[in-house]
């Protein structure tokens, strides 16, 4: 199945997560008007969200994102986790 979730950060940026999932999150694509340093870390953020069970908690997803070495600007790991939970709901 496919799904999309998005979070508009108050006074911040829009983050969209597109996910393909079954009983696990198979693939994730992150888009939006945020900033990320280094930009190449986008693939690492996507990879960190993949492989989790679809009923993974927002906290677990947030922790997985926090493990990625990158500076998220205009959004944070919690926003990505929330958008992912919405995408697979």
């Amino acid at each position: 199945m496919d799904g999309t979730g998005s979070v508009k950060v108050p006074d911040g940026k829009l983050v969209r997560v597109h996910a393909t999932y079954d009983d696990r999150i198979e693939s994730v694509r992150i888009t939006g008007d945020f900033f990320l340093e280094p930009p190449e870390a986008l693939a690492d953020l996507e990879a960190a969200l993949e492989g989790h069970p679809v009923d993974a908690s927002e906290d677990d997803l947030r922790e997985a994102v926090e493990g990625v070495e990158a500076q998220l600007i205009g959004f944070d790991a919690g926003d990505l986790a929330a958008a992912t939970v919405e995408a697979v709901r």
């Binding site: 694509r29 992150i30 888009t31 008007d33 945020f34 900033f35 340093e37 930009p39 500076q71 600007i73």
Partner: protein, 248 residues
């Protein structure tokens, strides 16, 4: 530190965006002086943020029908609609050692001179975190940054006299399926300088260059043939291709 000030050269959007990568990399490698560059465009375009999805941001049929170049930037941030004579875009290629490590602070620091310059000619603007230049009536412009090992690219686009109705046809914020309220708020969010100033666009650019010099100094210069030929090559290989522009 001697800044090169480049206030010349009209290029297509893919070449403009290729220049950003070429010049930032050259500064990063220590092959270039810090540079301030004012952009001149030859046609209207949509520079889009690096992480944005093409189909989410532009009215695809409209931009294709009207031959509007949609080009993915090397920097994050949002999509803008730009026209040759109605926006002002400039870039700063700054040594990383001169820029605060804190990203939010660095936007405020690198926008400081432009806020001062616009206030000097009577425009009521201020820096609004993270990356906006705001007038009480709305957003006049926005900046975006990219950091490499030893360089920071900071580029900014401001509305001088942008056709905001056309903007709403080009960008998806103008679509019917988004509620009237959303469109109104998008329209409200953009303020254009010409509503508050009698100065021509050239006069505003001159005032900005003066303000830049007051803060950083600098000498008028040109892009080198080498820089330009590298940018033309990179434009063709990357910034003019669907592979890059429509990759998301």
């Amino acid at each position: 530190m001697n800044w090169r000030i480049v206030n010349e050269g009209t290029y297509s959007e893919p070449v403009q965006q290729a220049l950003e990568e070429v010049l930032t990399d050259r500064l990063d490698r220590g092959e270039m002086d810090p540079t301030f560059r004012v952009w001149y465009r030859d046609r209207r375009a949509v520079p889009m943020g690096r992480f944005q999805a093409y189909a989410d941001e532009v009215a695809v049929d409209y931009v294709e029908e009207h031959d509007i170049d949609v080009v993915r930037r090397i920097t994050g941030g949002g999509a803008m609609y730009v026209e040759p004579g109605t926006v002002i875009t400039y870039s700063m290629y700054v040594p990383r050692s001169e820029v605060p490590d804190d990203v939010e602070e660095s936007y405020a620091t690198l926008d400081r001179w432009v806020i001062d310059g616009l206030q000097e000619i009577g425009l009521d603007v201020e820096h609004e975190p993270l990356n906006d230049i705001s007038h009480p009536d709305g957003k006049i412009g926005g900046s975006a940054q990219l950091r490499t090992g030893d360089a920071v690219l900071h580029h900014t686009t401001m509305s001088y006299d942008l056709d905001t109705e056309e903007m709403l046809r080009v960008l998806r914020i103008g679509e019917d399926k988004i509620s009237d309220k959303a469109v109104k708020s998008a329209e409200k969010r953009v303020a254009v300088m010409r509503d508050y100033l009698d100065d021509t666009r050239e006069e505003v650019i001159d005032a900005l260059i003066d303000a830049f010099r007051d803060s950083y100094g600098g000498t008028a210069g040109s892009l080198t043939d080498e820089e330009l030929s590298e940018a033309y090559e990179l434009a063709e290989a990357k910034y003019a291709t669907d592979e890059w522009n429509k990759k998301l």
